[in-house]
């Protein structure tokens, strides 16, 4: 256990060092309205960490993932399934904590079937039996309990989060994930590292879609993350948020052309 706390302390120190470096570097270009979004008061810091993370990804994670992607498909499938299986107990506990006993039972069933018949999770036999894969974590559980997400947070190395999810996923989730209970520290951290590479490799074929679609990468990823988390907390059925702007469906005729074009140059130089 002392070994573990030492690791944790070292990790925290490294993260703090990165945050300081990222701030001191001041490499992110900040938009004029930085920090004005109520969901993202720490935008100035977040943008700097975001730039650091992008560089870390380009220099280290992506090349690793590209090498990993060269593995034969059946090996990658097996590893993906095994890693997903390590999440089984966490899914079960979180579903139980969220008051969903049927889902929790299904997660237990999945875990038992895939660990035994599926050869330590290499084959996902359970999905074929109608036991669907869950995607739960303690951040979602806190959300179900009514904890607000708090400010958006870009975590060094890991990426988008918020205060609630950082507490749930970085603070509590490690104890629910089977990775934590691998006895040998070398194997434990190797498996953890491989899981991140595997996860990264799964994004290789689609990541360019964000490059294409986003006007501002940071905002696009942030807003997507916030929507996705809300969706997960409501298990895919979030209530519709009605924007009062959307309601005046009869948007009325456009104003005469002279008004905005005359106003625009006056507003421009100040920016």
């Amino acid at each position: 256990m002392t070994d573990r706390t030492a690791w944790l302390r070292r990790g925290l120190r490294a993260a703090a060092a990165v945050a300081v470096l990222a701030l001191a570097g001041g490499c992110a270009t900040l938009p004029p309205n930085v920090g004005q979004d109520p969901r993202d008061p720490w935008e100035a810091v977040n943008r700097n960490v975001f730039v650091f993370n992008e560089a870390f990804d380009a220099d280290i994670m992506k090349p690793l993932a590209e090498h990993y992607a060269l593995l034969p498909s059946f090996v990658k499938d097996c590893l993906s399934n095994m890693f997903a299986n390590l999440r089984g107990p966490s899914n079960a506990v979180n579903n139980a904590l969220q008051g969903k006993p049927a889902e929790a039972a299904s997660d237990v069933g999945r875990f038992v079937v895939n660990t035994t018949v599926g050869l330590v999770g290499c084959f996902d036999v359970a999905t074929g039996m109608g036991l669907e894969k869950s995607d739960e974590d303690f951040g979602q559980t806190l959300g179900v309990w009514g904890v607000e997400p708090g400010p958006y947070l870009v975590v060094p190395f890991l990426g988008p989060s918020n205060v609630r999810d950082a507490v749930g996923i970085l603070g509590v989730e490690p104890f629910l994930d089977l990775n934590f209970y691998i006895d040998n520290a070398t194997i434990e951290y190797s498996v953890l590292a491989l899981r991140f590479v595997n996860l990264r490799a799964q994004l290789l074929s689609t990541e360019h879609l964000i490059d294409d679609a986003a006007l501002d990468r940071y905002t696009f990823i942030r807003d997507g993350f916030l929507q996705r988390r809300r969706y997960l907390i409501y298990d895919g059925n979030p209530p519709r948020e009605i924007d009062p702007e959307d309601e005046d469906d009869d948007d009325g005729p456009p104003p005469p052309a002279a008004t905005p074009t005359a106003a625009a140059p006056a507003a421009e130089p100040g920016r």
Partner: protein, 211 residues
């Protein structure tokens, strides 16, 4: 022998044509049926055309233009994404915004379609009253390996039938995801600033695709 063939051939051709006509999705149909038929058609076309699988953007765009565009309400999509700024935009600016946003979405969508291989579409239970004019249609695209991809649509009933005006991928609504970006472009450079950004993005995407 040839006489017979001459009689039979048109009949065969006619028969072959009938299912094709029947398959064309009707905007008057129920919204979930419309989405189901539309997706099935697009996936069939991708399977049948190796150029699309190879990432031929021109071919993909032709497919999108023919099969999907008639069922999408881009002006509404653009208006929702632009939000407050739409009210101050002139008719010309609105047209330009819609045109550029549409081009951007089509390019992104074409890029996504190029990734599709042997995917299957699964429709999820549809809950709506017959009188509803604004509905949510839920589906999932199931790849041969990996987890299903949630794909939901918002449709509005218009005079010409149902039209899609928003898409949700893995829990992320498209229109919602552009709102903040559009708003900050407008606050920085006005509506014209946003049009300029969109136009430049489309131009650089077009150049990348050519290279």
């Amino acid at each position: 022998m040839f006489e017979k063939l001459r009689l039979i051939l048109p009949c065969v051709l006619l028969l072959a044509a009938v299912p094709a006509v029947a398959q064309a999705p009707s905007a008057q149909a129920a919204p979930d049926a419309l989405v189901r038929d539309l997706t099935a058609q697009v996936l069939d076309a991708i399977r049948a055309d190796s150029a699309i699988a190879a990432g031929d953007i021109g071919r993909i765009q032709k497919l999108v233009d023919e099969k999907i565009l008639p069922y999408v309400d881009f002006p509404k999509m653009t208006r929702l994404a632009v939000g407050r700024g739409w009210r101050d935009a002139t008719a010309e600016q609105r047209t330009a915004l819609t045109r550029e946003f549409r081009t951007l979405l089509l390019r992104t969508y074409s890029g996504a379609l190029a990734q599709v291989k042997d995917h299957q579409v699964q429709m999820r239970p549809f809950r709506a009253q017959p009188a509803d004019t604004d509905v949510l249609v839920r589906s999932a695209v199931v790849p041969s390996r990996g987890d299903p991809i949630q794909l939901d649509y918002r449709l509005e009933k218009q005079d010409a039938g149902w039209k899609i005006y928003d898409v949700n991928v893995l829990g992320v609504w498209l229109v919602e995801n552009y709102k903040t970006q559009f708003a900050s472009e407008i606050s920085a450079g006005g509506v014209d600033g946003l049009i300029k950004s969109l136009t430049e993005r489309n131009k650089s995407l077009a150049e990348n695709k050519k290279a």
